[in-house]
Amino acid sequence: MPSPKFRWLLAKELRELLASRAYWLLLLLIGPLVGHGFITAVDLYAEASGIGGGPAALPQGLSPLEGMLVPTFGAYDLAVTLLFPFVAIRLIAAEKESGALKLLLQFPASLGLMLAAKGVVLMLGWLLAWLPGLLAVLLWQAYGGHLSGPEVFNLLLGHLLRMMLSGGVAVAAAAIAEGAASAAIVTLGFTLGTWALDFIATGRGGWLAALAAYTPTAALRFFEQGLLRLTTVVALLALAVAGFALAAVWLHTGRRLRTRLLGSLAVVIAAAATIGLGSLSRASWDVSESRRNSFPRADEAALRQIREPLRITIFLAAEDPRLMDFERSILNQLRRILPRVEVDYAAQSRTGLFEGAEERYGEIWYELGGRRVMSRSTTAPIVLEQLYQLAGVSPPAPADEPAFPGYPLAKHPTYANWIFYGLWPSAVIFVWWLTRHRRR
């Protein structure tokens, strides 16, 4: 049970959130954004399912996670990048600029408790903004669409952690920067920086690739693929908490600059240590119904016999579709099973267009216990066979594992236009008007 002081602080933050135009704008826009993603996704899904007698894709290729959930909730990635930071910044910056912070710092509660109240309210506000997404899920079910609970919850967890990270960055920026505008620039600069890191690290190994795995976009991608990784969860939580801790350090205007800098350093070290410790864990769960992040169970059991580090040297450029295919269908799975996988991206260019003269382009070398083998294949059964030979492990007997059946749905998104483009914005405007006129 929260203390009475915390309840008063929560109530204050909730009122401040509802007084924020940035939040109402977020609510207003999120409906059409989700609606656009949902309607487009359902239409495409219906086409792929052979609506109107058109050519249909193989059912096995039709997964509601990739076909509907990810594009629909993609709107939240956009919102958390471009809209939500302004909501979070306002909760801090408005109090700094109005002088309320001087009163706040004297309240009979710690700054940590006050920031916790802001964090809880931001989360509640974000959960309220999920309503259009949840409406889309209900509509999908009403159309007869299939949903897998673990996939849905994993994706929602990813978006929640993504919001917490974004909130942490925005709150820290608002606390450190002079005004709301500077804080917004810092926050957007952070986002652009992570995008750049994501781009630069594609198809590269080493520390850059390791770091890029924790950018908001890359971290969310794991959840979108139906993968729950402990290290990603720990990293996102640590970064979010670090953002709020930095805010607590910098909002305390009574501390000297040197004290604040030392406090910031301590926060950064603590966050880095937590992420570093978390990265030692390989714990992950493939919650996708299609087991897209896993090899067949028999193969996984055979691969677990390999204890030596596997070194893979890839002569494929970052933007070569074969590399993406290799990453998606082989590397990700190997990283989850084998104790140590080192990858060396040996191609020189990003596109491979200028590597025509490079004889080795397209080769993938596997090295295990001093033995080496080369392959050009990016197909899992072929690669696995070579790995078994290299490791001296007997290949498993073909097992009769049930295949993912796929879930076609040839339905148009009926009523979705009305709900997301008409009903939702009207409801938001009406509730906003009510809060403006009925507040004490």
């Binding site: 008063w8 204050k12 007084a19 001087k102 309240f107 009574g254 507040r439």
Partner: protein
């Protein structure tokens, strides 16, 4: 002795705003901090409240050293020229302070009555006039339960009638066990409401005491606070 301030100094870059300011606050008095604009009154209050760090000096509360982190348990500083939570109503702000500081139910309403805020309970803080906002902020400050209250320019923005009413209200607080330390730039107001005075000029305390004591310090046998202030600064 409720509070003893010893040698507080504060620089903003090369600009020395407070220069070894020392004085005492006695229990149950209304102490006035007077000085011209830019004398360092607000900076002194913010240093005392622990809202900005000092470069030197210390504060004792009831005979014990009081670190900046512990100040909010002993005193409350009500700043001037703040407009907090502009989108919220006066009624909410009073209720919030009453609840947060666990004050007896109805105290906020009673203060609203005393400060003539009843008609403004639904008005947004952002829409209040300067005087209305000042009275609201005063109510918020008076709702806090600490033995020492630091009020920055409590009469600024109030008309003559309101200023006199607020003075009467503030004068009643020492009897309730509260000590008030008011920063005032209007010397006539200061002379009317304060028991003792601290004169601040260019960051230095140039005088401290009752009007009679200040007259003696200034070597005057007669004259009001203005004459004393001019003589000492």
């Amino acid at each position: 002795m409720l509070l003893k301030v010893k040698g507080i100094s504060k620089h903003f870059g090369a600009n020395a705003v407070l220069r070894a300011a020392s004085f005492s606050v006695h229990e149950g008095e209304v102490l006035g901090l007077i000085g011209p604009n830019g004398a360092g009154k607000t900076t002194l209050f913010e240093c005392l409240a622990g809202l900005i760090p000092t470069d030197a000096g210390e504060v004792e509360f009831q005979g014990y050293a009081l670190a900046p982190a512990g100040r909010k348990a002993a005193l409350f500083y009500l700043p001037d020229a703040v407009r907090p939570w502009a989108g919220q109503s006066v009624g909410w702000a009073l209720g919030f302070f009453e609840g947060l500081y666990a004050r007896p139910k109805g105290e906020a309403l009673a203060l609203a009555g005393t400060l003539k805020l009843e008609g403004l309970m639904k008005a947004r803080l952002g829409s209040l006039s300067k005087g209305e906002l000042k009275r609201t902020l005063l109510a918020l400050g008076l709702l806090t339960p600490y033995p020492l209250l630091l009020l920055d320019e409590p009469f600024d923005g109030l008309d003559l009638r309101q200023a006199r009413e607020v003075m009467a209200l503030l004068r009643s607080y020492p009897a309730k066990g509260r000590t008030l330390f008011l920063s005032i730039h209007q010397l006539t107001d200061a002379a009317r409401v304060c028991d003792r005075l601290v004169l601040l000029s260019q960051g230095r305390v140039v005088g401290e005491g009752t009007l009679a004591e200040l007259q003696a310090q200034a070597g005057l046998t007669a004259g009001g606070l203005e004459e004393v202030f001019l003589a000492l600064t």
